[in-house]
Symmetry: C2
DNA sequence: CTATTGACTAAATTAGTTTTTTGGTCAAAT
DNA sequence: ATTTGACCAAAAAACTAATTTAGTCAATAG
């Protein structure tokens, strides 16, 4: 049974990116961790960035599985939006690789990392967009610009979960759900 | 009529900060621009940062005057929130000093500048908070956590006006007003 | 006397140079 | 047909020297 070199490489790179970040991970290190010659990496991946892309791509798939598993058909659309988003942001704050990448972007501003995080954000927005389109088709919510709506939903969520904590004590899931309800359901108008 | 040295210094520093940013402005330069010996600056201000603070403090006052002038009593609360916020973000994108500081934060990450922009943001949130409290007292909108609500309102606005433009064509004032209405007034629920 | 100044200094920043590291290649080995 | 690691150019880091700058304070001016 020959070891699957490709998988070893991806596993090693994932581990190293999670531990040290993108920039501080060297291809020599990945090769050593994967018990593989450095050249072998380049038979599977064009370069470091493509290896990174593959890993992020898997990560996004994982996230979507997570979000989907949070959705329950018997609940309302609004409730499910909250549940899916909350699961996604929990994922972001609990997965070692995501934590490291967010940190690397903040501290060093590594370009490849910024691009990749932007990409992840866009994927999440696309995911939300699809859910919103389905809800509109089913007549569950009124028509709207789905691109802007999904964009704004995510931004609101990030504001509540991450930005808020810069100056205040973190909000509980229940508090966030309550706030979302005010904005999504009733609006501020009496 | 002795020239008011303090005013000359503040004027010179404002000009230089607007033109070159915080870091690239030297105290020698400010002194020369203000036709004043460098030591004189330090009889009025403890250090460079305190001089900066005074200028930002004036800026915030200007912004509040701007926002207030956008408010019209005969319009609805929601409409006025939109008008005031729009005026504030217009201010940010049109005032030379603000433009320069936002740019300096993005490009160089100057700490003193980041702190000052955070301070400006907090002042805006405080301003919104007062308006919301008044509206609640008048019974115009339902009760809510005013701290979170004002925070979220600003974040939504910045998302629509600034973040959106990273990947899309800018939204017009009318479009933004429409989106705000959906979220503040009606919610997404049918 | 008080208010103002600019030469002065310690500390920080920048510029220039050398050394080390790193992504990627490819001839040799398996 | 795969895999490898010595090798290379280019990028990054480390180091140093030279310059700049915030802030001080003894001398000066009014």
């Amino acid at each position: 049974m020959a070891p699957d070199r490709r998988k070893m490489i991806v596993a090693a790179a994932t581990k190293s990116f999670s531990l040290f970040g993108y920039k501080a991970t060297t291809m020599d290190q990945v090769a050593k961790l994967a018990n593989v010659g450095k050249g072998t990496i380049y038979t599977f991946f064009k370069n470091k960035e493509e290896l990174f892309e593959e890993i992020i791509s898997s990560l996004v798939k994982e996230m979507i599985v997570e979000a989907d598993s949070a959705i329950q058909l018997e609940l309302s659309f609004t409730e499910n939006v909250h549940r899916a988003l909350y699961r996604l942001l929990e994922f972001r704050s609990q997965h070692q690789l995501m934590i490291k990448l967010v940190q690397e972007e903040a501290e060093m501003g590594t370009l490849a990392v910024s691009e990749m995080l932007q990409h992840v954000e866009n994927e999440i927005i696309d995911y939300l967009k699809q859910k919103i389109e389905t809800a509109i088709a089913k007549g569950a919510i009124p028509e709207a610009n789905t691109e802007i709506t999904s964009f704004l939903l995510l931004k609101m969520y990030i504001a509540l979960v991450s930005d808020w904590e810069r100056n205040h004590a973190p909000l509980s899931s229940e508090q966030i759900a309550e706030i979302m309800k005010v904005f999504l359901l009733k609006g501020l108008q009496k």
